[in-house]
């Protein structure tokens, strides 16, 4: 396996949790609900995935556990923000704070214990294709799920009646209500879908990305997933692109940190020069690149006020109290 292939493989691994979590949040936001609790649901999914995999010895049960806990945890948010009409920004933050606390408490027993790894699923024949075979067809199951999610969500949102209903609730809940649509039910389901996705994404962190439990291991990925939804102007395919862009940035800086200049002396002069220049940047600055890139990307996207206004679900973040 070549070096480039190895790097690309790690990019895929870094992008997958971002993609899954952002896909879930996209559906929630399309229904008009802004759930800032992605980070909290993700970390709950990470510890739940780890714990269930430990107990059962089966990483797939771990992933399902992460998904279930994520969905259940999002119900807390849904009850407050939807039924009790609380401020969605504050409630989402509360979910994140509670998730980080609960996962820390739950995870104490698992610190330092080697985890169960979700092994790659090698698809026969297809994985033998040169260059792309091993990259696309010898991945862990969650990678396939993440790609399937992009197809499924974009088909659901734009090609089905239920998807149209969900978008109409997000764009005008009063009209949707007047047409007899059960606004609350749609939103509850959308939030729970988001929670399940965030939980699954979290379990990817503790079952594939690093097969152990580390407190706060989501390290802001939930927030980056939220930024991806804005970056993608609420469109599924653009999220795929964004997730891989961020996966690449994360991995590049890690590879530069781990790079041994002695190993790349054979490279042509200018490339070696660039690498040694990058290598001279302190590790902490390289580590902050994904966060800085998030800010830059958000600025570039939001500069165009009109475009943002057109794409944002009109009811995003607003509570709904039906007239009786």
């Amino acid at each position: 396996m070549g070096m480039l292939e190895a790097i690309l493989l790690t990019v895929f691994t870094a992008a997958t949790p971002l993609l899954i979590a952002a896909m879930g949040e996209l559906v929630a936001e399309r229904s008009g609900v802004l759930n800032l609790g992605v980070e909290g649901m993700m970390i709950m999914g990470a510890i739940a995935g780890f714990a269930f995999a430990q107990m059962s010895g089966n990483p797939y049960i771990g992933a399902l556990g992460g998904m279930a806990v994520g969905a259940l945890f999002s119900l807390l948010f849904a009850f407050l923000a939807l039924t009790l009409v609380t401020n969605q920004v504050a409630t989402g933050l509360a979910l994140t704070i509670l998730g980080l606390g609960l996962s820390g408490l739950w995870g104490e027993a698992f610190v330092g214990i080697p985890g169960v790894k979700l092994q790659p699923v090698v698809i026969p024949l297809l994985s033998d294709i040169p260059l792309i075979g091993r990259l696309f067809f010898a991945q862990d199951a969650l990678f396939y799920v993440s790609i399937a999610l992009v197809f499924a969500v974009s088909w659901f949102l734009f090609k089905t009646k239920a998807g149209l209903t969900l978008r109409s609730v997000g764009d005008n809940h009063h009209s949707a209500h007047a047409l007899g649509i059960n606004v609350m039910r749609v939103r509850y389901l959308a939030v729970m879908f988001g929670g399940a996705c965030a939980g699954l994404a979290g379990s990817h962190l503790s079952l594939v990305y690093t097969t152990q439990w580390i407190e706060n291991m989501s390290a802001g990925r939930g927030w980056i997933a939220l930024a991806l939804v804005v970056f993608a102007s609420w469109r599924p395919w653009r999220i795929l692109f964004g997730a891989y862009l961020f996966g690449a940035i994360t991995i590049m800086q890690l590879h530069i940190q781990a790079l041994n200049l002695g190993d790349v002396e054979f490279l042509p002069g200018p490339i070696y020069g660039i690498l040694s220049l990058l290598k001279s940047i302190p590790a902490q600055f390289l580590s902050s690149l994904p966060y800085l890139a998030t800010i830059v990307v958000l600025v570039l996207i939001s500069r165009n006020r009109r475009l943002t206004l057109i794409n944002t679900p009109a009811m995003l973040g607003q509570g709904f109290v039906p007239d009786r």
Partner: protein
Amino acid sequence: MRIEVSRRQMPSRLFAYLSPVIALALTILLGAIVFMALGKDPVQALYSYFIEPLTETWSLHELLIKATPLILIAVGLSVCYLSNNWNIGAEGQFLMGAVAGSAIPVLLPEFQNYLVLPLMLILAMAGGAAYAAIPAFLKSRFNTNEILTSLMLVYVAQLFVDWLVRGPWRNPQGFSFPGTITFNDFALLPEMFPASGRANIGILFALVAAVLVWLMIRRTLKGFEVRVLGQNPRAGRFAGFSSAKMTFFAFLLSGALAGLAGIIEVAGAVQHLNEKLSVGYGFAAIIVVFLGRLNPLGAVVAGLVLALTYLGGEAAQISLQISDKSARVFQGMLLFLVLACDTLINYRIRFIAGQPSASAEGN
């Protein structure tokens, strides 16, 4: 059973005062249930959580030390949230304030006189405000979501502090531990009652800030502007108020107060800058803001309550072997219940047994 929510004609004054109290009571009740589930005696657990830290003089000192940054940050954030500016990066502004203020004792250790401390405090406020100006600028100029940018800057600030105390600012005599030199006496905050504990005058800054900001919100035109733009930006624009200017005002004020909190923590309790400075006061302060009902004076009481949960967590760990991480669970539950109970102020909640009636179908 189902729950029906309907808007009140007028916000309930009764519940405006009662809701934080109800939330606190429910948190304690839930906590007792959690302790029982963990197999601990709930009465004893709650005693060591909420009473024991109040029974000893030294722990009262610790309470003030922990409450100081929480109150200072929360006072600033309440202006932000009242004006609908969602600064959730106070943790980063806290760190950058600490860095800016520490520059004098670290870079100019020979400079020792009574000017040092005031200069440090001013620099720290400037540092925190400057860091908060970034999301404010991006929001007002490019319409960029301030929640995400201010939060991303927290991670950047944490990494920056880590680099400083391991790299250029590391104490050469520090036995390879990350951290700067210990500050000289002129760069340390005086203790209030040195005989009984280490509480410093930082709490006085917090109290003064709370009163001043409360007066600003209640008694000045600026405070009126804060509330109008927060509740109805359209009405604010008709009144000639500028949303962009308000964004800067709120972020700079809260950044300055968070920066002040940062230097008070460093020059008070810790006495040098190290990589463990970021313990989440900037996030816990968000809970303080809501528990204090976005009122700066409320933040003083709420800050003391939150500080108590930190100490209680430590006490419960020692006396009952409950992890001190339980404190963060308590804090999260508290914020949830505060938000839930706040619904009672603006809405009437009815519990209705049985199936939904035909007329209310679709709720």
